[in-house]
């Protein structure tokens, strides 16, 4: 019941923001709000890992990049010449109607993989990588875990930066739109802006509902037990390593989905999306929201990402996030919304 009220409030505020922008004629805000919504998807996923399972991950931008880059590479690679050369695999895929033929700017034929197939492959790849990385990494604790996930993020960054198929330092551009349903396309078209805003927010709402159900279930209680004391949880019969692995994979999938759709929305992706600073930024936002606080992370994620995307921090963008990290961790390690000042203030007023 409590969840129902919160989710209704979330949907209400999403609609209210859209109406506000259309009444005040500030529809251009919707572009950044849409991007913010996709970033929030990563943040609520990371919140599950950090806040509820108590494991730090400094490599989540890597999963975002795996999703985004796989999808972008498959949908921008022109298969026309491979089909003409009689590549049997391409012929087989083409015969199943899994490829999309179109024309590029100059009228030349382009043949690319259907975004649905690309997205499914990207998610599949993310799940496999998250499993393979998660099994050994999640056995580690503390500094070792932080460094191992950081190292994973850097490896992904290096790979996308040095591989030709991923566009090296330029990244990939001219990614086609993603047709979710006939007439509902995820792309950066201005006329599609309101549609796209609702699609992105829809993803966030669905994500929040999934996570809330997870948190308030047997799994969620097990996770909180792990966060409190892992050995005790183990002794109580909780398979801690399996629960940690599952939450890690789920949050990786959240990041990959955000990567896929943000790439289609922006029409491109660059190596900076895989950078260390991005991963640290996600961690910072989860920390500010209060680690084990989904709503706090969501609120702070929307607020800070939106301000950052609007360029409000200027050239001090990274410095602001660094300063926020330090200040929050020094004075309010439970998050801004859990500050004892609020309680003291309330006591004084009442």
């Amino acid at each position: 019941m409590r969840n129902l009220i919160s989710i209704t409030t979330l949907i209400g505020s999403i609609v209210a923001v859209q109406l506000l922008t259309s009444f005040t004629g500030t529809g251009y805000y919707l572009t950044q709000l849409t991007m913010t919504a996709y970033y929030s998807l990563i943040i609520i996923g990371l919140c599950l890992v950090m806040g509820y399972a108590g494991q730090i991950s400094l490599g989540h931008a890597g999963f975002f990049a795996i999703g985004g880059y796989t999808s972008a590479a498959l949908t921008t690679y022109n298969l026309t010449s491979m089909l003409e050369n009689g590549n049997s695999l391409i012929k087989f895929i083409s015969g199943r109607g899994l490829l999309i033929a179109a024309q590029d700017l100059y009228g030349d034929p382009v043949l690319y993989v259907n975004p649905w197939i690309a997205a499914l492959l990207a998610i599949f790849l993310t799940v496999i990588i998250a499993f393979l990385i998660g099994i050994p990494v999640l056995k580690l604790k503390g500094h070792y875990l932080a460094m191992a996930t950081l190292g994973f993020g850097i490896i992904i960054f290096r790979i996308v930066l040095a591989t030709e198929i991923f566009g090296e330092a330029d990244g990939l551009s001219e990614v086609p739109g993603f047709t979710l349903l006939p007439g509902v396309i995820v792309n950066g078209d201005f006329n599609n802006r309101i549609f796209n805003y609702y699609i992105a927010c829809g993803f966030v709402v669905v994500g929040v509902i999934i996570l809330l159900n997870l948190i308030n279930s047997r799994v969620g209680r097990a996770l909180r037990a792990i966060h409190g004391a892992e050995d005790a949880a183990n002794a109580m019969g909780i398979n801690t390593s399996r629960y940690k692995l599952y939450t890690f994979v789920i949050s990786a999938v959240f990041a990959a989905i955000a990567g896929i759709f943000l790439t289609h929305y922006n029409g491109g992706i660059g190596p900076s999306e895989a950078g260390i600073m991005k991963s640290i930024r996600y961690v910072a936002i989860v920390a500010i929201g209060g680690m084990a606080n989904l709503w706090g992370a969501l609120t702070m994620g929307v607020l800070l990402n939106f301000m950052s995307l609007r360029g409000m921090f200027g050239s001090y963008d990274d410095a602001v996030f660094g300063a926020i990290l330090i200040i929050i961790m020094l004075f309010a390690p439970d998050g801004l919304l859990h500050l004892s000042i609020w309680r003291k203030l309330r006591k004084k007023i009442l």
Partner: protein, 331 residues
Amino acid sequence: MRNFSYPPFYRYIFRYRNYPARVTIYPESGTLTVQMTAELFSQYLFAGITYGIIYAIVAIGFNIIYNTTGIINFAQGEFVMLGGMFAITLNNFMPLVPAIALAVVITMIIGALIEMIFIRWLDSPSILRMIIITIGLSILIREVALHFWGEGVRSLPYFNGNEISSIKIFSAQISPQVLWVIGVCLIIVTLLSLFFRFTSLGLEMRACSANRLAATLCGINAKNMVTFSFMLSAGIGALAGCVMSPITYTQYDCGTGLAIKGFTVAVLGGLGNSMAAVAAGLLLGIIEAFSIGIVPLAFQDAISITILLIILFVRPHGLFGSSEAAGLTEF
């Protein structure tokens, strides 16, 4: 047969004009053959040793703080960058030696201030909290350096000779700066082991790392020891930053990469063990140098990080740590 251009940063150590053409590209088959001669082998070996020693000095900085506090200072790489940057700026006003000395002192003061402002007054902070605070610090230092010194790549002048002077050792042509790097590292390691063994301050620091409560009961001010360990590792980092600046150049963001390599080396040798860190550093440096013949230069970082991941998964107590002692600590 045509001349092979060597990867860019190797040019800073070895002048490629000294190289005879050793790489042959056969146009008809498109294959590239590297003839590993004794000469080329020793060139690669010296490149590996140089970089390995640099990583080892950074790893020693990690170890000092880890030993007294049990935390990993993610901002360690930034001390190296600050040392190099301060020395370069000061070198405009004064000769090289006082500039380096002053840069080391300034960085030590910064290290002490960081500890006093951000760490000293926290009582028993969780590891997660310390990780995030030191990561935040490293970002902040880097951004301040970016706004202070700009994005430009700078370097100190060569201590002896200039860019093209070289010394012939075992048929390899190496820059005299390489000898400086190796020499300074040897001096640091020797002085440190003497310091920890024979001075009362060093003994007090070791007591703190062995058992903090017992050390406090013996009248040792544990908090001051932590401050001092930050100063020491900042100073060592800064000295490393000065010595390597002519070969590797200094830029506002050069700390991150070094910190990760340094951590790899520290883990490879076993966290907290400075002597093992030197051996592990040499090992990693040499592996990296020879990996250039096999994988593209762009993936060189990925190789050392893969080594880090493998070590973390297989032997988290390091190559030289004992598994019995490791059973007592948590990874």
